[in-house]
């Protein structure tokens, strides 16, 4: 068992507090109509942050679903900057710059899992060290893509770490309506790979599980499926009203198990955390997100950005459409410009 050091645990907590703080800031920005739909992170912090702290950012890839970006701070400040562009609906939000090994949000559930297997496979083909860690929800584990990808990863012995973030809900659908399996980790048996169930509110346990899976993969012993059991503490997104379906007593029980509070109290006991640290971290988080919002707001956008990066070069059709678009946008046309 590999336990993160105290220093690592403290870094993990910093990232967790930052993520939660920024997530609630985003929620408010959405309520003010300043950004698009927001999927809050509450309850997911320990799993996502600890998992990525077990990675080597120079070599290991992170392939997220959509709830993770705020917790990927370890991969650099660009993640937040791009995520804010994304939240504002700016196309550059999808471009996480080279050499950061993080893919942008994926909305089509489960489709990122085959991508992760392809990346892992590709790294193995090129004899590059590194693993691909992919996050997906309990809901996504019902998609064919999850199974096909897990099965292929098993056959290829690909260096992929599949982290199923079981937050008990897929929008309004509880996990017991998602599958009759005792545990989502049981699905690993069908791929012939190890399946590990871990308490996703326990940062150290997540770190250890990912660390082990990563070492396994790097040693050429193939993929691992990790089920991190947590509880979604917030709404599915800003468009959702969980009071329609989440039993209040379940939520209360889960709140008592809040991963942030849990690590805070653990680190307080070790004298590694105090109110000042909390306040400083929250302030820093807000400063960073507000700065990122500001930058995103003033990011340039070409008049015909709509048509860029679809093909490597305009086809005859796209060239015609580009001049139509520019014509329509020109001041004289009284168009959008």
């Amino acid at each position: 068992m590999t336990i993160p050091s105290d220093a690592q645990l403290r870094e993990i907590l910093v990232d967790m507090v930052m993520a939660r703080t920024q997530s609630s800031r985003l929620w408010n920005l959405q309520r003010q109509g300043q950004v698009g739909t927001v999927a809050p992170i509450d309850g997911h912090e320990a799993t996502i942050v600890a998992a990525t702290h077990a990675l080597d950012t120079d070599h290991d890839w992170v392939i997220p679903q959509y709830r993770e970006p705020l917790a990927l701070r370890r991969y650099g400040p660009e993640i937040l900057e791009r995520f804010m562009l994304y939240s504002l609906g700016h196309p550059a939000g999808g471009h996480i710059p080279d050499p950061i090994r993080v893919l942008p949000n994926q909305i089509s559930l489960g489709t990122q899992i085959p991508h992760a297997v392809g990346i892992a496979w590709g790294m193995a083909l090129r004899s590059e060290p590194g693993v691909a860690l992919v996050f997906f929800g309990d809901g996504s584990s019902s998609e064919g893509d999850f199974y096909e990808a897990g099965n292929l990863a098993g056959v290829l012995n690909a260096p992929v770490v599949m982290v199923c973030v079981n937050n008990q809900w897929a929008i309004s659908t509880p996990v017991h309506l998602q599958t009759a399996a005792d545990s989502l980790a049981d699905k690993a048996a069908g791929f012939g790979i190890p399946g590990v169930k871990v308490d996703g509110n326990d940062a150290a346990a997540v770190y250890d599980a990912v660390d082990e899976a990563r070492k396994r993969a790097l040693a050429g012993r193939g993929p691992t499926l990790i089920e991190a059991v947590i509880y979604r503490l917030g709404a599915h997104t800003t468009a959702d009203d969980p009071t329609r379906y989440v039993p209040p007593e379940d939520l209360e029980a889960a709140q008592r198990n809040d991963p942030v509070l849990r690590l805070v109290s653990q680190l307080r006991d070790l004298d590694l955390w105090d109110d000042a640290a909390q306040e400083k971290t929250e302030a820093e988080a807000l400063k960073l997100i507000d700065r990122a919002v500001e930058a995103a707001r003033s990011a340039p956008l070409a008049a015909d950005a709509l048509l860029d990066h679809c093909l490597s070069a305009d086809s005859q059709r796209l060239a015609r459409q580009r001049s139509q678009l520019l014509d329509a946008r020109s001041p004289e046309a009284g168009g959008h410009g």
């Binding site: 609906g89 949000n105 019902s142 064919g144 309506l177 709509l306 678009l325 329509a328 168009g335 959008h336």
Partner: protein, 335 residues
């Protein structure tokens, strides 16, 4: 089984309310109707289209499924074979891609490949369409792709009243129907809806605005914009007809031919990207049916040949009143 609503009057409803009311009425009318999909039961659907069905008709007839679009679509084949009338929801049309092998490969072909032994009384509902700042794959207009799938009907209402009348017809129709609901229309379109049983036949277009100089042919939410364009041009003395196709398959070829023959000029509007969108089929149909009446080339107003874009760009992508008006003017000036 008796009709639930027999008022005889009309109610002012949003398209969403009309859909919800129709689902209630059809489930009450025919106990073979079952509703399935992601979040359709306990949550009443992410847009509340299925609100109240679970409470009223119970967990056996209103079923929250796992997140598995392929098996949602595929199970409807089995349910239909077993004698039920499934009404499945794909939470957003973009995720029908996950089910394409079942929708295009199986649902659409059940009657043909069994040569009529089984009757695919299957309705697949899905919201789609732009203008409401959704994430990727929530807004894409894929109707042109489904129109090329023989055996499937593709129904796309533009008004609250039609949403009711076409949905009821779709559910009762013995063929598989893809019923597409415009996201912007859910709350953005409202109007008088007949109470009680209200059926609009599939395959009969509707003249949304009368006019003689030119006809705008379109479907779904774009009918709303076309009407606004027609109304604003009318104030300039132009007489612009708007033909709402209502269903693109079956296509009311005669109504298209009649309108174009009468006006001599036409504009076809779609939200989809241009290449391979259903507007091309309308142009080709016009070419077949009334080439000699055309006084100018038919104009297409479409999205661009890129994937449906992110929020900051979507107003540029989706055709709006001004682009429709420009195309109308261009077509009227052309000769």
């Amino acid at each position: 089984m008796a009709d639930t609503f027999n008022g005889g009057g009309v109610s002012d409803l949003t398209m969403l309310q009309a859909i919800n009311e129709t689902l209630h009425a059809e489930m009450a009318r025919d106990d073979r109707v079952v509703v399935l999909g992601e979040d359709v039961a306990r949550n009443g659907g992410v847009f509340r289209a299925t609100e109240g069905l679970y409470e009223k008709f119970g967990e056996h007839r209103v079923v929250d499924t796992p997140i598995s679009e392929a098996v949602i679509a595929g199970a409807t084949v089995g349910l239909a074979i077993a004698g039920l009338v499934p009404v499945a929801e794909i939470q957003f049309l973009g995720f029908s891609y996950q089910a394409m092998h079942q929708l295009a490969g199986q649902v659409a072909r059940l009657r043909y490949r069994t040569q009529g032994r089984y009757e695919p009384s299957i309705t697949i509902r899905a919201p789609f369409g732009g203008g409401v700042r959704t994430p990727e794959l929530h807004s894409d207009s894929l109707e042109g792709q489904f129109a090329n799938v023989a055996g499937l009907k593709v129904v796309m209402p533009a008004t609250a009243s039609d949403a009711k009348g076409l949905l009821a017809s779709s559910i009762r129709d013995p063929d598989p129907v893809l019923f597409l609901e415009p996201l912007r229309g859910y709350r953005g379109i409202r109007g008088e809806v007949p109470d009680g049983d209200h059926l609009v036949p599939l395959g009969v277009a509707r003249t949304a605005r009368d006019g003689d100089d030119i006809v705008i042919i379109t479907w779904s939410y774009q009918v709303e914009l076309a009407c606004r364009a027609a109304d604003s041009l009318r104030s300039e003395g132009l007489s612009v007809r708007v033909l709402d196709l209502r269903s693109i398959v079956p296509l009311d070829i005669e109504a298209v031919a009649e309108a174009v023959s009468h006006c001599g000029r036409a504009v076809v509007v779609q939200e989809s990207c241009e290449t391979g969108g259903f507007a091309s089929e309308v142009v080709a149909t016009i070419n077949d049916e009334c080439f000699w009446s055309l006084e100018a080339p038919v104009a297409r107003v479409s999205g661009y040949d890129v994937p449906y874009p992110v929020g900051m760009l979507e107003d540029l992508y989706v055709p709006d009143e001004s682009r429709i008006i420009a195309a109308v003017r261009r077509t009227l000036e052309s000769d």
